[in-house]
């Protein structure tokens, strides 16, 4: 008899967490311990040799953290996952497992600013170069691929441009070149899009956003599909004895979760950005209602986008599922259940222009929170030109997709009419 294929909602509550072996506790126990005793010298040797599965030290694995890892792997339809202290840490562990000094990345030009800087500055200083290309044109990725290219990188929904990428087309380009497609799925969450189903090989999350969902906790997760052929000759680090782990050949020994094991035993163990068990617990609590929260985020965001589009004080509104949006077709294909809770808009400039009106709007809102995060249960608002992107001049801001008047809303779970009321009264002040 075939195993039952459980639904997404069931996985949100159960995947990765059977009752505690020791106590029968139904809720996830927080194993707040740095280390785990060995049963014997031979057990210790087997653990260090990776001949048995088990916990040694919470920098490498922890029973509370692994429940989060397995749950996110299950939600994404992946084979295995590795959690990290933040989304940026997860990305670092994933990418340094794929690329080293002398290697090359092809990435979408429209990336979250932290990721852009990680590639353009930090990885560049490690000797890993990135070519940034137009995410609307899969061909631009193909043209940028070189013999030393190790991965293609994009976001399901770009931040803050809210552009949607053609995942299947990018996967085809990546696989023709024998490299994995790495997708940051943070703004969609696996409820709205599972990139592995469209050909992605590795999925990265800032769990800080919708997965955790309550703005309490930093965390990141890397998911491996289990489908990429690491034995294709382009990844000797997977198929030859590991220098970082006494001769283990990760692809041969661990098969379709070899990438995750390598990232765990080398990158996570030696770079050290482990997720705390308590944070894993909080993120898991969030995931238990992911399937209830995401539809509401999406419904309210679309309603607010439509409301703003009909408001004479508003110059433009950007939400992928808004009729006529440049990414509407791709959004309907890849995000049929909703395009997430984030939208951007610009207020018509008065005498002092749209940027000044944007600042006035931010200062006039009553309960929308002015801060630099997205994916909280509460509605968040920011004016990128005067905050996250203020170190750039206007020309650089425009290149990054940030117009002077742009306001970004991360729509929360409050009463929709109340959010609309706050937006409306702030618009009145801003447009005065």
């Amino acid at each position: 008899m075939a195993d039952r294929k459980f639904g997404f909602d069931t996985l949100c509550l159960h995947a990765g967490q059977i009752p505690d072996m020791a106590t029968g506790a139904r809720a996830l126990p927080i194993y707040q311990t740095t280390s785990f005793v060995f049963d014997s010298a031979d057990h210790a040797a087997s653990l260090f040799n990776l001949q048995t599965f088990g916990n040694v030290y919470s920098r490498i694995s922890n029973p509370t953290v692994c429940a989060l890892e397995e749950r996110v792997a299950a939600l994404e339809g992946g084979r295995a996952a590795l959690a990290a202290a933040t989304g940026m840490a997860a990305q670092t562990a994933a990418l340094l497992t794929l690329a080293k000094n002398g290697d090359h990345i092809v990435a979408a030009r429209t990336l979250y600013g932290g990721t852009y800087t990680q590639f353009a500055v930090t990885f560049s200083e490690f000797g890993i170069d990135t070519t940034f290309v137009d995410p609307d044109e899969p061909e631009s990725f193909r043209r940028a691929i070189k013999t030393n290219t190790k991965l293609l990188y994009a976001e399901t929904i770009g931040n803050p441009q809210l552009n949607v990428v053609d995942l299947a087309a990018l996967a085809e380009v990546a696989h023709e070149a024998g490299v994995p497609l790495v997708i940051d799925n943070t703004l969609a969450s696996p409820y709205l899009c599972r990139p592995i189903e469209h050909g992605a090989d590795i999925v990265i999350h800032s769990a800080t956003k919708y997965l955790g969902g309550h703005g309490t906790t930093m965390g990141g997760v890397v998911v491996e599909s289990g489908k990429f052929d690491w034995g294709n000759g382009k990844f000797p680090q997977m198929t030859t004895p590991s220098r970082g782990y006494h001769g283990v050949i990760f692809h041969e020994t661990f098969g379709d979760f070899g990438f995750t094991m390598k990232a765990r035993m080398e990158a996570m163990r030696t770079l050290g950005p482990a997720l705390s068990p308590f944070n894993a617990f909080l993120l898991l609590q969030g995931i238990e209602t992911l399937h209830l929260r995401m539809p509401r985020h999406c419904e309210s965001a679309l309603a607010i986008a439509q409301h703003l589009a009909a408001d004479a004080r508003v110059a433009w509104v950007n939400y992928p599922l808004l009729p006529g949006n440049r990414y509407e077709t791709l959004a309907r294909r890849y995000l049929p259940r909703g395009a997430g809770g984030i939208l951007t808009f610009g207020i018509k400039g008065g005498r002092d222009g749209g940027a000044a009106a944007g600042v006035r709007f931010i200062e006039a809102v009553q309960f929308l929170s002015h801060l630099a995060n997205v994916g909280d249960a509460k509605t968040l608002v920011i004016h990128p030109a005067s905050t996250t992107h203020r170190q750039l001049n206007e020309e650089e801001q425009r290149a990054a997709g940030v117009l002077p008047e742009m306001i970004r809303l991360s729509v929360g779970l409050e009463t929709l009419d109340d959010i609309l009321w706050d937006v409306d009264q702030a618009l009145a002040t801003a447009s005065r």
Partner: protein
């Protein structure tokens, strides 16, 4: 019968005690050694089968299944194959001859003809799965490596040791 579901794999792993590991390497960092050592640490008896060695993991190693069977006082339950797909058909016949109950082809190995031969003789057949990974997936331990085990249950796990 080809077994590929959780209930069937659990039944095989809980009813079996002795594994003949065909192609077991004496090098500690080879996958076959990992798997055999793990299974021995979890209570299974390992009978190494490999013409290259006389002893592996401190156990006598036999050139083939027939001589392994002759020298082993307990029944051989699982024939665990770390051999190329094209070498599995004769192993299926040998497994039938020694009265094994399960023909198990390791990760990456499938041979439909061998599966049919063994199934027709009443053996359970597992293909393209690692015995160690399946044990850890279903009895506990693999989850600690962040792997999606597919196990959804509100029952406490049976074993206390990964």
């Amino acid at each position: 019968m080809i077994v590929d579901d959780i209930v069937g794999l659990r039944r095989i792993l809980s009813q079996s005690r002795t594994l003949a590991v065909v192609g077991l390497s004496a090098n500690w960092y080879r996958p076959s050694y990992f798997a055999a050592k793990y299974m021995r640490d979890h209570g299974y008896r390992i009978v190494p089968v490999n013409p290259t060695y006389e002893e592996v993991m401190g156990e006598p190693c036999f050139p083939d299944l027939a001589s392994a069977k002759k020298a082993t006082d307990s029944p051989i339950d699982i024939v665990d194959c770390f051999r190329k797909p094209e070498e599995i058909v004769p192993l299926a016949r040998d497994a039938i001859a020694i009265g094994a109950k399960v023909l198990w082809m390791q990760l990456g190995i499938r041979n439909n003809e061998a599966a049919r031969i063994a199934s027709d003789a009443g053996l359970d057949v597992v293909m393209d799965r690692c015995v160690k990974i399946e044990y850890a997936r279903l009895m506990g331990g693999l989850n600690w490596a962040g792997v999606n085990t597919g196990v959804i249950s509100a029952r406490r796990p049976l074993t206390s040791h990964g």
